[in-house]
């Protein structure tokens, strides 16, 4: 299941770097002075025990939380904080730990919603649903159907997502993120709550997206097998601090990491 080499471990340019980021909610320090980078085209795993600040880190990259300190360098531009719209239009897409689908819409519409940034047709044509508006709708529908086929959810695409089983939610959410044609895809525990077969499917999608579209992926995951197999490099967080950063093999042998997971007092 390992991605063919040629990505990741060879030095690619950095697409995103966080520098000395600190984030606190009132007295609770979620992230303290964390720096790491993500190279273009790699699969970067962010791991750590629960409460380590992994989701908060993704939220900072997304622009959902604004860090008190530190900077984010994305595609050459440095910012002290990201805004959600900047992140999205800059090419960052993401999935969520607690699935954030639009429950009132079908799977197809959810994924079509992901195309919002790229649909520009004039309001006037939208009123008439004709001409440019219609052409745009059909054109983006084609793209979305490609994604739906790739994720093998064609049979449920017209069903409102509220009705779908949990395992499919994650896939639809991935589809919505892919619809944005992102340069950087943030996945927050994409395999959570899945059985072995579903995990294998999801892993296959992740690798295909990385290979096929060249999308850089940052992923939070608890299943160590998945992390070791899929990722090119791993960063480990614990209590909001970075305790390791390197290839999966490096990290596996790192004592600090083992201690963190086994709960040795430190």
């Amino acid at each position: 299941m390992r991605a063919p080499s040629g990505t990741g471990t060879t030095a690619g340019e950095t697409i995103l770097a966080v520098e000395n980021v600190s984030l606190a909610f009132g007295g609770v320090k979620a992230i303290t002075d964390v720096s790491f980078d993500i190279r273009k085209g790699e699969i970067r795993a962010i791991i750590g025990p629960n409460g380590a600040g992994k989701t908060s880190m993704l939220n900072v990259i997304n622009g959902f939380y604004w860090p008190q300190r530190g900077r984010i360098r994305f595609k050459g531009e440095t910012r002290s904080k990201m805004r959600p719209h900047e992140a999205a239009s800059g090419g960052i897409a993401r999935t969520f730990q607690n699935v954030a689908l639009f429950r009132g819409m079908t799977a197809l519409d959810n994924i079509m919603a992901g195309r919002s940034l790229r649909m520009h047709s004039n309001f006037f044509w939208q009123l008439l649903r004709h001409g440019p508006a219609m052409r745009e709708e059909v054109e983006h529908r084609k793209r979305v159907e490609d994604i739906i086929e790739f994720l093998e959810i064609a049979h449920i695409r017209k069903i409102p997502v509220g009705v779908l089983p949990y395992g499919l939610h994650k896939r639809v959410e991935l589809g919505r993120a892919l619809a944005m044609e992102p340069d950087l895809l943030l996945l927050d525990e994409p395999m959570a709550g899945m059985n072995l077969e579903e995990k294998e499917d999801m892993s296959r999608y992740v690798i295909d997206v990385n290979n096929h579209y060249g999308t850089t992926i940052a992923l939070i995951e608890h299943d160590m097998g998945v992390v070791m197999d899929l990722s090119d490099r791993v960063v480990v967080l614990d209590y909001g601090r970075k305790i390791a950063d390197g290839t999966p093999d490096d990290v596996k042998a790192n004592k600090a990491v083992i201690d963190a997971y086994l709960g040795v007092a430190h």
Binding site: F25, N59, F64, F96, N98, A100
Partner: protein, 327 residues
Amino acid sequence: MDLLYKIFVDPFVQMGAAPDLLVQTLWEGLVAGVLYALIALGFVLIFKASGVFNFAQSIMVVFAALTLVGLYALLRQWGVRPTDLAAFLALGLTIGVMFLLAVAVERMVLRPLVNQPDIILFMATFGLTYFLIGLGQLVFGGESKVMIAEELYLPRGSYEIKMLGGFVNFQKIDIAAAIIASIMVATLAIFFQKTRIGRALRAVADSHKAALSVGISLEQIWIVVWFAAGIVALATGIMWGARSEVSFALEIIALKALPVLILGGFTSIPGAIVGGLIIGIGEKIGEFYWGPLLGSGIESWLAYVIALLFLLYRPQGLFGERIIERI
């Protein structure tokens, strides 16, 4: 230039020129504020304990007052001679009616809708409001009535105090209202904080499912809390009716409790009081000193605009909990 003067200088000059009028206006505002606060208190009770934003609280005030007056008239018709006996009997019966109302609401509205999103419960209380408006009008008739203030031994008359170069008038009923309101608030605050039931109420407000799983009976809690809100509504109705009259116009006036809740937060009892006082005073001062500038009747919307401006600055109200959204 002249307009700026009229807005920013003149009213304050007027305030200074006749301080007795200022005090009078402040007092009126305070009294109105106390009554708004009482209505808001009913909201807060229910919201704190069940997470339901009870839009029907204002109509409950009217309904309670109407029931009281109606039952009194009925008792007198049936030959109950001493007025105070009839009055207090009617009061007791009305309390009973509010209890039955609480039971009915719990059984027919809340229980079927348990676990539904808050917005659905909110809209259900709209339905309840209109239902009670129709029922109230059907049973008691649409004309306004006189509150049986004297029969309930509520004080009449007023104190006129010479101060600040003129006379300031303090209606005794208003003073009584303020005192009764304070006692109620204190009782409720203690109830929530110190008693077992109070704790259970707070648990239910946080999460229905979690409360159920530790064995708290949602039905009982809801009946208790809607009954308590009903009592508060009754007290409010009596006070308000005694000051003016009992009519359905009160329903619209009582909607003013909403800006009060915005200022004070939906879950805070002291917030309801402070919010009520701010709105009440703000409204009266605004109407009296700035009203002539804009045309009369700005009381109808001033409270809402104050609340709106406030919300822009602090979306969770003065005392409300900051909403931290997690994703």
